[in-house]
Symmetry: C2
Subunit: 369 residues, 2 copies
DNA sequence: ATAGCCTACTAAAACGTTTTGGCAAATTGC
DNA sequence: GCAATTTGCCAAAACGTTTTAGTAGGCTAT
């Protein structure tokens, strides 16, 4: 069972002192400057010398001390992700999915992610610490709210960041988001076009903008169709997980006039699935179901009835885009910009999908989110 | 030959550079030494001087540059968590749960978590990089396999680490684990004591030790009861998520002699729940169900039938313990040690729980895992 | 009075890099 | 053959801390 090819050999001394550029200079009887310039690709190093240096560096397992580099270059190649304890309570598959994309792209762009949590009231202090102690080059902000103070803080501090989501000031910073408003407007318009008149919308916590904008989309679709506002009942789950999907679906279906249920997340739908199925069996009431599908890796949609209509957008791709955008700012010096992720609609076969292709009414198009 | 590397853009733009100890020294007309010693609590600083320094530091928002500190102290206060892309595919709630505990405890112990992913074959290179470039003080290793090369590598390199789980060499390093073997031995013995004779065990990927040891526990309980080896059928899900719980439960119940199903994870059980319920309804075959409950925050057990027997251990607490153990080594210089997390049994009311209290046979007790 | 001892401060070295500016030696141009 | 240019290397400064090894001056004990 020999060593796999390419397996790194552990450093010789178990004591742990790493090889430094000085060791290399001593070994080769060259100056530190020359070692550094050779390894960093400067042209003013002779070919034979460079080859010797590269060989010795490989042989001795030299790696520049990152902290020395960071100190002199004023650049850490670290990106901070600050997680609130509050959100930690339900650190959910959505987080994992975004993080998976972030990690994959960060590796490609040569960044590490510094992950930390903070207590209830310490959110900004955590950002402040990172800003002041030079431990990261930039920040990722997830789940923004309206007038998000993290965004205000980092803007004032003049530090690079990118937001997963948007709020009012979205034109002033880099972000990655899907078109929450548009997606849910279209989804609701689709249900209306198919004759439904009484709806339940099982949404997330509307202090988060993603949920707020979805609500706005749904509300406006109803208004634009000339339906009364009470055609829609909205249920919010403070936590995206738990048994909210189950209990809220029960509540929603208690109104027997409801013929269509719209979910903000496929997790809520899965939790409520049993109730939905029962409603079909028991009341003989077939319910139209629509949801957002974030392509969570561990939700297997094959077990969902084919009658589910969904709009799909990849959170993992959003994670990739977040790092790509930040790297564009950090590495290429480009100005911040927003990235709108594509969504695709998948309509249940018993529904007429034609309304999806209609453009949104002019007045509805400028809304962010 | 060689190109001059493109110059990275300085991260701080608008608000500019942070204030340094030099700024503070200039402002107060004191030496750098005195500032440093005052702020670090040395006794050889006058009371009035110290007060003035502290006031100025607060007023100007001084924070020591972490990279300078790390360079001179040879200590980063960073802990690495390396995630394989492979595992990323199903970055699952178990991960989130451990991570939540790790983050909370890391904050308390003044550590940041450096999270990174690596490609298929690059696992050890990633560890190697961190070892050689001084970017972290220690490592967390999750999901160990037998003869885990990450453990070999870090041991040879002489770097501190702590393992979530165990393998053969567990006495030689710090770890946090539950007693997988014991728990599953007892669970199976309980089922046997209640008259069951034909079992399905829906386990995880047995190249991971947690799953392997659980299998061993189950197998030994059957052997010790004098039951034939074919009383047990084991089903493995390569991925902890997906629809494995559903399809494997279907397969398992296809054998109509099976009266008890043991799950390695509550997620698998939840996915198979529909099948289990149907089996009860359709075949009139009540199935005894037992599982591990990791206290995942988003699995709401209230919806599971009361007939489920489970052994419960908190992954979040394990996360806390991981950092506590690593901090014991790094901050207190204590030798590595193992931490066995407590588990509690919760027996369905229709089962006789007495066998749980019996000690394991002597020969069974030394097994790790 | 004086040796010794606190008290309150500081200069300089060190951590490990990158980069600036320079300088010999080798090569080229005429 | 000599000036000009190119090639290949290096000393020193800088990044922002902590720590070592002081020192100057006041106080105490004899």
């Amino acid at each position: 069972m020999g060593r796999k090819p390419g397996r790194p050999v552990a450093p010789q001394s178990a004591s742990g002192r790493n090889i430094t550029i000085k060791d290399l200079a001593a070994e080769l009887e060259l100056s530190i400057t020359t070692i550094s310039r050779a390894l960093n690709g400067y042209p003013d190093v002779g070919d034979k010398t460079r080859a010797k240096i590269e060989e010795a560096a490989r042989r001795l397992g030299y790696r520049p001390n990152r902290n020395a580099q960071r100190l002199v270059l004023q650049r850490t190649h670290n990106i901070a992700w600050v997680q609130s304890d509050n959100e930690l309570k339900y650190l959910d598959p959505h987080f994992s999915e975004v993080m998976a994309g972030v990690l994959a792209e960060a590796r490609a762009a040569n960044y590490d992610i510094v992950l930390t949590s903070h207590g209830q009231d310490r959110e900004l202090q955590t950002y402040d610490r990172y800003v002041r102690d030079n431990s990261v080059d930039g920040f990722i902000i997830d789940l923004p709210r309206e007038d998000d103070e993290r965004i205000s803080f980092l803007t004032e501090a003049g530090r690079p960041f990118v937001v997963h989501g948007r709020e009012q000031r979205a034109s002033q910073y880099g972000w990655v988001d899907m078109d929450n408003y548009d997606n849910f407007y279209r989804l609701m318009r689709l249900l209306i076009a198919n004759g439904h008149r009484r709806f339940a919308f099982i949404n997330g916590d509307e202090t988060f903008n993603y949920a707020l904008y979805r609500h706005h989309g749904v509300r406006d679709a109803i208004a634009d169709a000339g339906l009364p506002a009470d055609s829609l009942r909205v249920y919010n789950s403070a936590h995206p997980m738990g048994d909210a999907g189950f209990s809220l679906t029960q509540k929603a279906l208690a109104d027997t006039r409801v013929t269509a249920v719209l979910y903000s997340s496929i997790l809520l739908l899965v939790e409520g699935y049993e109730v939905l199925a029962n409603a079909g069996l028991r009341d003989g009431r077939p319910i139209a179901i629509a949801t957002m599908d974030d392509e969570l890796r561990h939700i297997h949609s094959t077990r969902l009835a084919p009658r589910v209509t969904f709009v799909r957008s990849s959170l993992r791709d959003a994670g990739h885009a977040l790092i790509a955008e930040l790297s564009r700012q950090l590495d290429d010096g480009q100005p911040a910009r927003g990235v709108l992720m594509r969504s695709s609609f998948h309509v249940a076969p018993d529904l007429d999908a034609r309304s999806l292709d209609d453009p949104l009414p002019m007045a509805r198009r400028t809304t962010i989110g």
